[in-house]
């Protein structure tokens, strides 16, 4: 227990680091996933911007990256991370890798939810003279917003999970904290404190996501 008190500062730092990594990733990956997902949807056959070549290539890319286990993905995109964010290790590199992985994952969630929007309504909007950008922004995304919020909440939780291995390339956060100060130092109490912190973060996020989705669905 004394050890725990010594580590208190580090612990809170790790909490903040995890939240920071996940939030920034959700922002970047979320926007990226939205763009890829909308593109996947509109380029489908009979879509608003049906385009077979774009659709096929994009599907291939997404399907190529999605199944790669994240711990391997980090290493695989390290050269790319060096080139884009200037470093291959640390939080910036982990945010880069996470954002990329999240964007591909989110894109499928976005696509699925857009497919769920009644095509008759989309056609009606088209008949009203709404242009494609207007249909995407004022019909498709708002109509799918409730389920999308749930999808993004799911991704948030997945990111908390994935970010735990940031330590592999020198990133911080609760996962790293648990491994370095708990597991490697044979201190299960420290490990469990980190576990509980993660559980609390996940619960709060899920609760907030559910609330928000419900409010949106009821608007």
């Amino acid at each position: 227990m004394d050890r725990l008190l010594e580590l208190e500062g580090l612990f809170w730092e790790s909490v903040v680091e995890t939240l920071y990594i996940v939030a920034v990733t959700l922002g970047i990956g979320g926007v990226g996933g939205l763009v890829i997902g909308v593109t996947l949807y509109v380029t489908r056959k009979n879509g608003l911007l049906a385009n077979a070549p774009v659709s096929i290539v994009l599907n291939l890319v997404v399907n190529f990256f999605r199944p790669i286990p994240f711990v391997i993905f980090i290493g695989a995109v390290q050269p790319l991370a060096r080139w884009v964010v200037g470093v291959g290790i640390g939080n910036r590199a982990i945010i880069f890798a996470l954002s990329l992985a999240a964007a591909f994952g989110i894109s499928r969630i976005v696509e699925q939810n857009l497919v769920g929007v009644d095509p008759g309504v989309v056609e009606a909007a088209r008949a009203m003279g709404a242009g494609r950008p207007r249909i995407i922004l004022t019909v498709l995304i708002p109509e799918a917003l409730g389920p999308l919020v749930l999808g993004y909440t799911f991704v948030f939780v997945a990111l908390v999970d994935m970010s735990a291995i940031a330590g592999v390339i020198g990133g911080g956060g609760l996962g790293n904290f648990a491994i370095v100060y708990g597991y490697r130092q044979f201190n299960p109490v420290v490990t469990w404190v980190a576990v509980i912190a993660i559980v609390v973060i996940v619960q709060v996020a899920q609760f907030a996501g559910n609330r928000l989705a419900r409010t949106i669905l009821r608007r």
Partner: protein
């Protein structure tokens, strides 16, 4: 009912436009690799301001024909010309009320009707116009409700109001009163006639109801199902001029013969003959 929509259209009212269909055919590919011909050689000249009722058995291609005029679908053969100019995707000279209401589920009825306004309508003018249209279709009290909170008939009237919001040159209505109870249906028919009298619009209206067709239309176009046709047949089985000026007497005896004729064309006996006891 006093209808003066001209007051809030802000000069955006389009004049009624003529519609010319020539040789319009539509053939769909079928999953088995075959094709299904739904429309064949449809020739129809609709004068500006005319009201046309399209009747025909279920599945004969009435909705498909409207989709050709609204340019939501393109004919396999032939052409659709509105006011001398072929129709194209996103054509704003036409407005449709679909067979299903197709409202935005998370928007209020007001927002749904507003969606039909021409782009660039000044905000205040638009709001006034939407309120007026909702009043007209009897939904003023439900303006803030969402589609799932209203009945099928109310949703359909909202969809009608949305189509009217455009003040289009050509109004395409696909069974606009199909989901309404008998009384509301009669009221909405009169509403449509009032709107039509107040501001010129060409109307093509699909209906299953021969009475409705005879009450509203200048001409009734009877379509046939090509599945029970000979190769020489075209989709239009018959075009009937409805005599007399609107508003017509719903019980007009002059129309009795026409009614029987149309019902027969639809494959319905005008008089029910009881089966002879054996």
């Amino acid at each position: 009912m006093n209808v003066d929509l001209g007051s809030t259209t802000g000069g955006r009212q389009q004049p009624a436009l003529s519609v010319a269909l020539s040789g319009v055919g539509r053939t769909f590919p079928t999953p088995g690799g075959g094709t299904r011909e739904v429309l064949r050689e449809v020739d129809l000249d609709v004068r500006a301001g005319e009201v046309i009722a399209l009747v025909g058995p279920s599945g004969c291609g009435k909705s498909t024909l409207l989709r050709q005029i609204s340019a939501l679908d393109a004919p396999t053969t032939g052409s659709v010309v509105v006011d001398g100019v072929p129709v194209g995707p996103g054509d704003l000279r036409t407005a449709v009320a679909f067979q299903e209401p197709r409202l935005l589920p998370w928007r209020t009825l007001t927002a749904n009707v507003a969606f039909g306004l021409p782009r660039g309508t000044p905000k205040q003018l638009g709001a006034a116009r939407v309120a007026e249209l909702l009043e007209l279709v009897g939904l003023a009290d439900s303006a803030t409700l969402r589609p799932r909170q209203v009945s099928g008939g109310m949703a359909q009237r909202t969809s009608l109001a949305r189509a009217l919001a455009r003040a289009p040159g050509v109004l395409l209505l696909d069974e606009p009163f199909g989901a309404l109870d008998a009384l509301t249906r009669l009221r909405m028919q009169d509403l449509l006639l009032n709107v039509h009298a107040a501001r010129p619009t060409t109307v093509l209206l699909v209906t299953h109801d021969v009475e409705e067709a005879l009450y509203l239309a200048d001409r009734v176009v009877l379509l046939r199902d090509l599945r029970d046709s000979t190769p020489e047949d075209t989709s239009i089985a018959r075009i009937v001029e409805v005599p007399g000026d609107r508003p017509r007497d719903r019980a007009d005896h002059e129309l009795t013969e026409l009614r029987a004729e149309l019902l027969e064309g639809l494959g319905v006996a005008a008089h029910h003959t009881p089966a002879q006891p054996a």
